[in-house]
C-alpha cells in the first residue's frame, strides 16, 4: 500500500434482515443521510426505515407508455391512410378497433423499457467498480449476508463515533473501506 487512498466509509455486517432494519432505522434517527443497506433480497419496511422517498421511476414509465401510445396510433394512422392507403379485408383505412392491439403492445413495450432502463439510470448502473468491492466478505451480499455502510462524505460521519454506533447496533466485522 504505497499510495494513500482516501476513506470511502465504514461497512458493518448484520446477523439477519430484522437486525439490519433496526440498524438502518437507528442510523437514520441519528441524522445520517449518506448510508446504504445491502441485502440479497428486498426487505419489507426498509424504505421507511431508511427514510427513502418514493421513486421517480413511475414517471419515467408513464412517459415511456405515453410515447408508445402516441407512436403506435400515429404510425398505423399514417401508414394506413397516407403512405399505403390500401383497403384490406374490407376494413376502413384507419379504425381504432384494429389499431388498439399494436398501440397497447407498444405502450407496454416502451413502459417496460422505461422501467428497466430508467431503473438502471436512477441506480447509476452499470458500475464496473465500487469501493465496497475491495472488501472480500462483501461478496456474500449476493448470498446470505446483510450489510450497512456509512459514507465518509456524510456530514455526521466521524470514524470513531460512527464505528461505535455500528458496534452498539450489533454490527460485526466493521471495516474501513478505502476509495
Amino acid at each position: 500500500m504505497a499510495d494513500r487512498r482516501r476513506n470511502w466509509g465504514l461497512l458493518a455486517e448484520f446477523q439477519n434482515p430484522a437486525r439490519l432494519l433496526e440498524a438502518a432505522q437507528a442510523v437514520r434517527e441519528r441524522g445520517y443521510t449518506k448510508f446504504e443497506t445491502w441485502s440479497p433480497f428486498p426487505i419489507h419496511g426498509m424504505d421507511d426505515a431508511m427514510g427513502l422517498k418514493g421513486s421517480r421511476l413511475g414517471w419515467i414509465v408513464l412517459a415511456g407508455g405515453l410515447t408508445g401510445l402516441t407512436t403506435g396510433l400515429t404510425l398505423q394512422w399514417w401508414a394506413g391512410t397516407m403512405a399505403y392507403p390500401l383497403v384490406i379485408g374490407g376494413k376502413p383505412l384507419f379504425a381504432w378497433e384494429f389499431a388498439l392491439p399494436v398501440t397497447f403492445e407498444l405502450s407496454v413495450l416502451l413502459s417496460a423499457f422505461g422501467a428497466v432502463f430508467g431503473m438502471f439510470a436512477l441506480n447509476r448502473m452499470p458500475k464496473p467498480f465500487h469501493p465496497l468491492d475491495r472488501v472480500k466478505r462483501f461478496k456474500k451480499v449476493t448470498d446470505d449476508a446483510f450489510f450497512l455502510s456509512i459514507e465518509a462524505g456524510d456530514p455526521k460521519f466521524d470514524l470513531e463515533e460512527s464505528r461505535k454506533l455500528l458496534e452498539s447496533l450489533g454490527g460485526t466485522g466493521i471495516v474501513v473501506v478505502e476509495e
Binding site: 419489507h44 426505515a49 374490407g90 384494429f98
Partner: protein
C-alpha cells in the same frame, strides 16, 4: 422487526355500529323490494323480470367474485390477504340467499328466455340444434348445480375459518389449503356456465366463447370494489384500525385497479374479434347495442368502467387516500351495474334504452337485503380472522 405488531383490535365489532348499519341496509332493502313488488302488481311483468335479472346478476356475480377470492387466498398460500379473508367469506356467504332470489328468474323464465318457447324452437333450426343444452329442465338442473357448488364451498371455507377463531388450530389452515385447488376449478366452471345460461342465452342465436371469462372479470371488479368499501368501513377508529392498515387498504385498491384493467382487456378482446371477423351471426349482438341510444351507454361503459378509473386509481397516492378510494370503489360498483345493464337490457328494450324506476328499486331492494345479511355475519363472528397464523405477518406489510 423494529416493533413487532400484534393483534390489539377487539375481535368483534361494536353492537351499536353493526346494529345501525343493519337497520339502514334492511330498510333500504325492504323499501326497494316493496316498491319492486308494487311495480309487478301494477302489471309491468316484463320490465320487472328484466330489472330483477340485472339486479340479481349484479349481486350474484359480486358474491361469486368473493367466493373466488376466499379460495384463491388458500391456493396461493397468501399472507397479505389474511386480514381481508373474512370480508370475502362474509360476502360469499350470501350465495345461498342469491339462490332464493333466483326464484323470480325461474318464474320469469318464459318472459326472459326466448328459447323456452316450444313453438319458437319448432320453427328455428338454430334453436333446435342448441336444444340439447338450452331446454327448461337442463337449465334448472344447472342452476341448482351452480348454487349447490357455491353453497357447499362457502359453507366449508367460512365454517372452517370461523372455527379457527375459537381454536386457533393451524391444522385448519392446512385443511382449507387442501381443498382450495378443486374449489377454484369448480368456481371457474360454474361462473362460466352461469354467465352463458343467465345472460348470454337471452340472445340464444348469439354466442361468444369469451363470455364466461367476461362474466368472471366483472365479478371480480364488483367484488374488489365492495371489498375496498368494506375495508374503509372496517378500518375506522375503534374497529380494525390496527389490523387493516394503510397497506391493506392499498392492496384492496390495487386489486380493484388490476381487475379493472383485466375486465377492459377481456371486454375489448371480445368486441375486437367479433368486429374483425365481421360475421353477421356474431356482430348482431353489438349491432343492437350500437344504435337507438344504446351506443351512449356503451360509451359510458368504456369511459366509466375503464378510462376514468384507470387514471384515477393508478397512483399509489390515490389508492392510499381514503376519500379517493371510497369514491373510486363506489363508482365501480355503479359501473358494474351499468356493464350488466348494457349486456342484459338491450334484449328487452331492443330499439333503445328505456330507463325504468324498477331498474333502481330492484337494485336497491336486492342490494339492501344482500348488505343486511353481510352485516348480520359481523354481529355473529369476528370481522377479521384474528387467529389466522398469517395475520400478524400481513399487518407488517405496508407496501412501502
Amino acid at each position: 422487526m423494529g416493533h413487532h405488531k400484534e393483534f390489539i383490535d377487539k375481535p368483534m365489532l361494536d353492537a351499536a355500529v353493526t346494529g345501525r348499519a343493519f337497520k339502514l341496509a334492511a330498510v333500504i332493502g325492504g323499501v326497494g323490494l316493496a316498491a319492486t313488488a308494487a311495480g309487478l302488481a301494477m302489471g309491468e311483468k316484463e320490465q320487472f323480470f328484466f330489472s330483477w335479472l340485472v339486479a340479481f346478476m349484479v349481486f350474484t356475480t359480486i358474491s361469486v367474485g368473493a367466493l373466488f377470492y376466499t379460495i384463491i387466498h388458500h391456493v396461493a398460500r397468501a399472507t397479505y390477504s389474511a386480514g381481508l379473508r373474512r370480508t370475502a367469506e362474509n360476502v360469499a356467504a350470501n350465495l345461498p340467499i342469491m339462490a332464493v332470489l333466483f326464484i323470480p328468474v325461474i318464474l320469469g323464465m318464459h318472459t326472459l328466455y326466448h328459447w323456452t318457447h316450444a313453438e319458437a324452437v319448432a320453427e328455428d333450426p338454430i334453436l333446435q340444434w342448441k336444444s340439447g343444452y338450452l331446454n327448461d329442465t337442463f337449465f334448472l338442473i344447472r342452476a341448482a348445480a351452480y348454487f349447490a357448488v357455491w353453497t357447499a364451498l362457502i359453507w366449508f371455507f367460512r365454517r372452517t375459518s370461523v372455527a379457527q377463531d375459537a381454536s386457533g388450530d393451524v391444522a385448519l389452515t392446512f385443511k382449507m389449503r387442501k381443498y382450495a385447488p378443486i374449489g377454484v376449478l369448480a368456481v371457474a366452471l360454474s361462473i362460466t356456465f352461469a354467465g352463458f345460461d343467465w345472460a348470454m342465452s337471452l340472445d340464444p342465436h348469439w354466442f361468444s366463447t369469451m363470455f364466461g371469462v367476461w362474466t368472471f372479470a366483472g365479478s371480480l371488479v364488483g367484488f374488489y370494489a365492495v371489498q375496498a368499501l368494506m375495508v374503509l368501513w372496517l378500518s375506522k377508529p375503534g374497529r380494525y384500525e390496527n389490523t387493516l392498515t394503510v397497506g391493506v387498504r392499498h392492496d384492496a385498491g390495487k386489486l380493484l385497479f388490476a381487475f379493472t384493467i383485466f375486465w377492459a382487456y377481456i371486454s375489448f378482446s371480445q368486441y375486437y374479434l367479433i368486429w374483425y371477423a365481421n360475421i353477421p351471426e356474431e356482430t348482431a349482438f353489438f349491432q343492437h347495442r350500437l344504435q337507438g341510444g344504446w351506443e351512449n351507454v356503451g360509451r359510458l361503459v368504456i369511459i366509466g368502467h375503464f378510462l376514468l378509473p384507470f387514471w384515477v386509481l393508478m397512483s399509489r397516492h390515490m389508492k392510499r387516500n381514503r376519500t379517493v378510494l371510497a369514491l373510486g370503489a363506489g363508482w365501480m360498483i355503479v359501473m358494474h351495474f351499468v356493464d350488466l345493464y348494457y349486456v342484459i337490457m338491450p334484449n328487452f328494450h331492443t330499439h333503445g334504452p328505456h330507463y325504468h324506476w324498477m331498474d333502481l328499486t330492484a337494485l336497491l331492494g336486492i342490494g339492501g337485503l344482500w348488505l343486511a345479511f353481510i352485516i348480520r355475519r359481523y354481529q355473529k363472528a369476528a370481522g377479521v380472522a384474528y387467529r389466522d397464523p398469517q395475520l400478524i405477518a400481513s399487518m407488517e406489510y405496508d407496501n412501502a
